[in-house]
Assembly symmetry: C2
Homo-oligomer: 320 residues x 2
C-alpha cells in the first residue's frame, strides 16, 4: 500500500468510530483499515444489502463491536463518547435499491439524520458517503463538485439519487445550523474484494461470468467507457479527508476511462487466458457515463488513485 | 369564479379530506373551497409558518375539524376513513425555510411519508404539493414537467428544493411499490388574500410597502420579470387534478410575465394613485426566473389561469 503522503487516520491517536453499513462492501474495508490502525470500531448493519460474513471477519477483534440494527429506526449505541459517526449504510447498486426503493429513501433521510443526531449528542464528527449518482446523467464531463447534476426527481432511480441529494442537504443543514463538524464524499464506481457479485455492475458481471466459464456479456459494440476505482484508493481518500476540516463535498474516484473491450483485455491479461464474448443490444437504461474531476481531492488531500486496474483486478480475484 | 369546464371536486359526492398545512396560505384556500362544496375537511397544522387566524375562519363550520400537530411526528387522525390526504405543510418562502432548514427538510421527508402511510392505511388518495423550486435555477424556459432541473444539492436553499424533490421521489415510490393513488403538483409563484406580508416575495413586499405609504423597493433597474398566479386559479387546478387519474407531476402556474416596473403600473392602476419607488442594487441571490409550461394541465385538465393580475390584486387588497 502507498504510504500516506498527507495526514490521515493512520497517524491519529486512537479513535472511537461508529460505521453504519459496516457489513457492506465499502463499510467492511473501513472497519478493516481502522482496526488495523488501532482504532475502536462499532459496526452497525441490518443486512438489507450488507452481508453477515463481512461482520464475521472482525467479530473476534478486541476493538470491534457490532450492533445489528436498522439505522432508519435509530442507532442503539449507548457507550463511551464517539469521535466519528460514519454513515455508509444504503443499498448502493441499481438492482438492490430498486428492490428496496422506500428503504433506500429512508436510509438517506431518517438514517442520515439519526447519524447526525448521534454525532451531535456525542460532539462527534459526521462523515457522509454520498455518490456520483447525485450528478445523475451529467451534461458536464468530467464532473467537478460544483456541478449541480442532472437528476430525474421522480424516475425509477430517484430513490437512490434523491435520497443521497437529501442526505447531503441535511448534512449541510446540521453543519450550518447546529455546527456539526461534517464531511461529505461522492463515491464513484469502486471495485475490489468483497464486492457482491450480484451488484449488476460491469466488473462484477465480468468476474462472475469469467469464474463460471461463461462468455462475458458486451452490450452494444463495447466502445462505451467506464472508470473504476480500487477500494484501497477510496479508503485512503476517506482517511485523509477525516484529517482535514473541509465541509463541502469531495469527489473520490478514478478518472481513467476504459472501454468495455479494454476491460476485457485487462481481464484476459490478469487471468492469463482468452475470454469468450457474447454481444447483446444496449439496454434502454444503460448506466450513464460519469468521470470524476478530482482536483479538489488532489489539492486538499494530496490524493490521487494509486492502484492500476491490472493490480486491482488481480487483488480482487485473489480475495474473492 | 369561472365555472369548471372539466370534472373537479365541485361535482363529486361528499369527500372526507385531510389537509396538512391547513393554516397556511394555500391550505386555507383549499379548506374554504372544499367546505363550500359540501366536503368534510380535517385540517392539520403546527403553526410553524401557518397562522392561527386561518384556522379560526373555519372553526365554527360543522364539517371542519382541526388537529394541531407536527406532521413530522405523525398525523394523529383516528376517525372515519379518509378519501384524500393532501400534504401542503411546509415553510414555503425563503425567509421561512431558511429560518427552519432542518424542519423544512423533515416535513419533506418524514412529513410526506407520514401522509403517504396514512393514505395507504385508509385506502385514500394522496396529493403532494411540490414546487417550481424543484427546477432550481432552470436552464430551460419555460419549464415543462419533463425538465429535470438545476438545483444545488447542498446550498442554503437546498433544504426546501431537495426536501421537495425527495417528497416527489417518495411519493412515486409509494405509488409504484404499494399502489397508492397519488397526485403531484408543482406550484409556481402564487398570491392572493391571506398571503403572509413577511414572505419576502415581490407582490407581498409591494403591497406591504404601498399600504404603509412607503416607497416600493426596486432591485436593479426593474426590468427583471416574474409571473404570478392568483390563488383561485391554483385551487381550481388542484380540484380538477383530483378528478383525474394522473400520477406524474403537473405544473400549475401563470405563464404571463411582468417586469417589476409593469407590476408597479398595475398596482398604481388598482390603487388609483402614483407610487414612489426606491432603487437598490440587485442582491447576489436574486430569486431565479421561472415560467411554467402549462401544456400538461391544459390538455389533461382543460385548465388555464383565468384571473388577470389587475383583478387578482384588487381582490387581494380587498381581503387582506
Amino acid at each position: 500500500m502507498t504510504p500516506p503522503a498527507a495526514p490521515s487516520t493512520a497517524s491519529s491517536a486512537p479513535l472511537r468510530i461508529l460505521i453504519t453499513g459496516s457489513a457492506g462492501f465499502v463499510g467492511s474495508h473501513l472497519v478493516e483499515r481502522f482496526l488495523g490502525e488501532g482504532h475502536t470500531v462499532i459496526g452497525v448493519d441490518n443486512y438489507i444489502s450488507g452481508q453477515p460474513q463481512n461482520t464475521a471477519l472482525f467479530l473476534g477483534h478486541p476493538h470491534f463491536r457490532f450492533l445489528e440494527a436498522d439505522v432508519v429506526q435509530g442507532i442503539p449505541y449507548g457507550g463511551e463518547p464517539l469521535d466519528w459517526v460514519m454513515h455508509f449504510a444504503s443499498p448502493a447498486s441499481p438492482p438492490h435499491y430498486q428492490q428496496y426503493p422506500i428503504e433506500t429513501l429512508m436510509v438517506g433521510a431518517q438514517g442520515t439524520q439519526n447519524g447526525l443526531e448521534l454525532a451531535h449528542r456525542h460532539g462527534a464528527r459526521f462523515f457522509l458517503a454520498s455518490t456520483s449518482e447525485v450528478y445523475g446523467d451529467p451534461l458536464v464531463h468530467p464532473q467537478p463538485e460544483t456541478y449541480w447534476g442532472n437528476v430525474n426527481p421522480n424516475g425509477v432511480r430517484s430513490c437512490y439519487d434523491e435520497g443521497k441529494r437529501y442526505a447531503e442537504a441535511i448534512t449541510m443543514a446540521y453543519h450550518r445550523t447546529l455546527g456539526v463538524d461534517t464531511r461529505i464524499i461522492r463515491i464513484f464506481n469502486t471495485y475490489g474484494p468483497r464486492m457482491r457479485l450480484d451488484d449488476g455492475r460491469v466488473i462484477t458481471n465480468f468476474v462472475d461470468q469469467a469464474l463460471r466459464g461463461e462468455p462475458l456479456t458486451i452490450y452494444g459494440n463495447g466502445s462505451q467507457t467506464r472508470s473504476f476505482q480500487y477500494i484501497d484508493d477510496l479508503v485512503e481518500g476517506i482517511s485523509r479527508l477525516m484529517a482535514v476540516a473541509y465541509h463541502e463535498p469531495v469527489n473520490l474516484g478514478n478518472p481513467d476511462e476504459y472501454t468495455m473491450l479494454n476491460l476485457v483485455e485487462v481481464m484476459e491479461g490478469v487471468l492469463g487466458r482468452t475470454l469468450e464474448l457474447r454481444y447483446e443490444p444496449l439496454p434502454g437504461d444503460d448506466p450513464k457515463k460519469r468521470k470524476p474531476d478530482i482536483t479538489v481531492a488532489g489539492t486538499l488531500l494530496r490524493w490521487k488513485p494509486q492502484v492500476q486496474l491490472e493490480v486491482g483486478l488481480t487483488r480482487t480475484l485473489e480475495r474473492l
